[in-house]
Symmetry: C2
């Protein structure tokens, strides 16, 4: 296809008229579709409902060590669940894991909240400091940015590359500024690009020399087993082992959950870190709770049994999700390639596709889609403070809609991309 | 029986010798019993296991309004669960309720943590203030005191009476000192006494005129439906309605959970308060989580159906617990009454009996019990900072042991009370 950039003004005006007619036609269809969040589809839950049968009124509710999971106790998780989540994260020793409630986001929030009120391994509580900063590789996960903003932490954007955050910048900021206390990372199948950090990136993270002793890497391994393909999968290094080797054992907190493995909101979540960091956390945890939901931990252990069970299960999720990603990517490829008005990632896992429109077009594209009944993630959401400096990034979330809905939504999306791009090119010619 | 106080030195020495022989005999039995915590017994869970069958692989997981409980969303709880918990607390409007995860303690902790970092309805965050104080009616619940201590909040002990905290003192401290930001209350079947606040007490709470605008009553209605008897039950006024009437709608947070209704650690928990307070809380909640475990909320709604269902269910719990309380009370009555060395409460509900030994004896009694294999709640635990000024209060928790274990444990307990009391009286004569 001919690049839009090579079109004359007259050609662009003709194209605009045709696209506008097409858009009016699309609007009249009265679509009501949601591609905004990384939500699993009902069909994913439907295929795993037997998890709800593994515990019933005649089940045994004891752990292997004899703890009754129906009663109080074991604040940091049942041993079997620690092992399962350690294996899922690729962490060698289950003692480096605490299993909590249903959401890794809550563990991250609580970790920051605890650092604000109690500091980190004896450091000054962050709420007593004049300024606290976090590095935010972007485009990134909007909820990470919301948590830091909620606590009044200053966010510094770091550019993302297909190998991970720009480590030259990370190293410089972390080593020079004592106010920099953390960095958000989604190291595997990143949100929203689907990038996985290279070996070099992980090693450079492990070898960071922070100016602040209470600097921590927030390693949100949200998509650790969320492959789309059996044959082509990304593998990343075990960050805990690398930090240990680099003489930096306390520098990282790793998070993960089964929210997109079992149920979104009724799974189990875990944190992995050094014993010292976990002990520090346990001091607050034993005040905050008598224990998390051990029955749900036991349900997950009995259902998945071990890491092989999780991997086999995730292949079933991939069978449902992969065709959706492929459908979206096919429409993008057929409709947009060669036009020089967009780029997008082709992830091997995770829940998102990152889409780059022409500068200044993202907000308008999202608004046009909404006007015609398709809700996308708000433009800017993938950047700190909701501000995308180029106004170009759009996060596409293909998992929740049905395949039919997805086709309709993506058709509308590419139409809006074309229309807004033509408008932009015309404005530039004027 | 003859009062120990009327015994001569010689009689006391003879008694001591006899009790010591009895104690050596008891030690040789090698008991290993736990009366330390308010834990339900396995038999309580055994009778309610059908709760685990109400949701299975063929169930419908939609709320009445059509929300799929297996997916993300509804951060403040499913409407049906709000209604159930509102009815349980006796709160008129379910809009005044948020249903969270498995533990009301976590809601209390998070509420204090949020006040530290973000203030209350726009007030200065407590971590920015020089001094924050909480009133602690005592003897009281040790975990309340631990949370406040963890956040560096100064605790002021307020005496308890059978009608509730000494309200003259509460009113004075709350109205005079702007640093007083809260008070802990267990208004019904209090921990550890089993006292229920009188109508006058509740009304005086509702009418408080705090110096601090961000003062809040932490109304932990932990034992709201935990009656021991059908015929004699305590009823307390609805604090939310009373505060509203008194023109103080924002002054209270009420907490409750099903930890001792369904499963300890796998129940559901809720907070009730004014819309403004709940909106303030929702601002942080939407950062902290995408949602709590809605499947477990749905499970509880489907099982109990309504408040009548909860009340009927609690009668079954009472049938198991009541004989345990009666067994302990009978031993105390038979063995200690008339000796003038102890007093104790006779609760109509809740999970504890509060025991008052002679001043200076509690620690020694608990230590003697432990030496012979019976673990009690640590002496002092029922007071702020773990310091009982009289060293006299001991919390007895009769629910967890089996009836046989309970008899053995209580026999040993009264033996230790007698022995330590005799030692104390001899020392006083010396």
């Amino acid at each position: 296809m001919k690049s839009y950039k090579d079109l004359s003004k007259e050609e662009l005006l003709q194209l605009q008229a045709a696209l506008e007619a097409e858009y009016e036609d699309a609007k009249s269809k009265g679509l009501n579709l949601d591609m905004s969040r990384g939500k699993p589809a009902a069909s994913q839950f439907d295929m795993e409902m037997d998890i709800m049968d593994v515990l019933n009124s005649s089940s045994d509710y004891k752990t292997a060590a004899g703890m009754d999971c129906r009663n109080y106790g074991l604040v940091d998780g049942i041993p079997e669940a620690k092992k399962l989540m350690a294996d899922m994260m690729g962490v060698a020793n289950a003692d480096n894991v605490i299993v909590c409630g249903n959401a890794s986001l809550s563990i991250m929030y609580d970790t920051i909240s605890r650092s604000m009120t109690h500091g980190v391994l004896g450091s000054t509580p962050w709420c007593k400091l004049g300024k606290v900063k976090f590095l935010c590789p972007a485009p990134g996960y909007d909820r990470h940015f919301s948590v830091t903003e909620h606590f009044g932490i200053e966010m510094i954007t770091v550019p993302m590359t297909p190998q991970g955050p720009d480590m030259d910048i990370v190293e410089k900021l972390v080593s020079e500024d004592e106010a920099v206390k953390g960095i958000w990372c989604v190291p595997k199948y990143s949100n929203p690009q689907g990038y996985s950090y290279s070996e070099e990136t992980v090693k450079r993270f492990a070898a960071l020399k922070p100016a602040a002793k209470d600097f921590r890497i927030f390693w949100d391994n949200a998509y650790v087993v969320h492959h789309l393909y059996e044959e082509k999968q990304d593998h990343i290094l075990d960050i805990l082992a690398e930090c240990e080797k680099a003489g930096n054992p306390h520098i990282v907190y790793e998070f993960c959950s089964t929210s997109k493995v079992s149920f979104a909101g009724a799974g189990i979540a875990a944190i992995a870190s050094s014993k010292e960091n976990l002990d520090d956390m346990r001091k607050s945890m034993t005040m905050q709770t008598i224990g998390y939901d051990k029955i749900n931990q036991l349900r997950h252990v009995r259902y998945f049994k071990d890491f092989d069970g999780i991997e086999a299960h995730m292949k079933k999720h991939a069978q449902i999700i992969r065709p959706k990603f492929e459908a979206v990517l096919k429409v993008l490829e057929c409709e947009l390639s060669g036009l020089e008005i967009a780029q997008w990632t082709e992830p091997k896992g995770g829940y998102f596709i990152s889409f780059e429109a022409l500068n200044g077009c993202a907000k308008k594209i999202v608004a046009k889609c909404k006007e015609a009944g398709v809700v996308l993630t708000g433009a800017g959401a993938t950047f700190p403070y909701g501000k995308d400096p180029g106004d170009s990034n759009i996060r596409l979330a293909p998992t929740f809609p049905t395949p039919e809905e997805l086709r309709a939504a993506t058709d509308l999306f590419v139409l809006c991309v074309k229309l807004v791009s033509v408008e932009m090119l015309l404005a530039q010619q004027a």
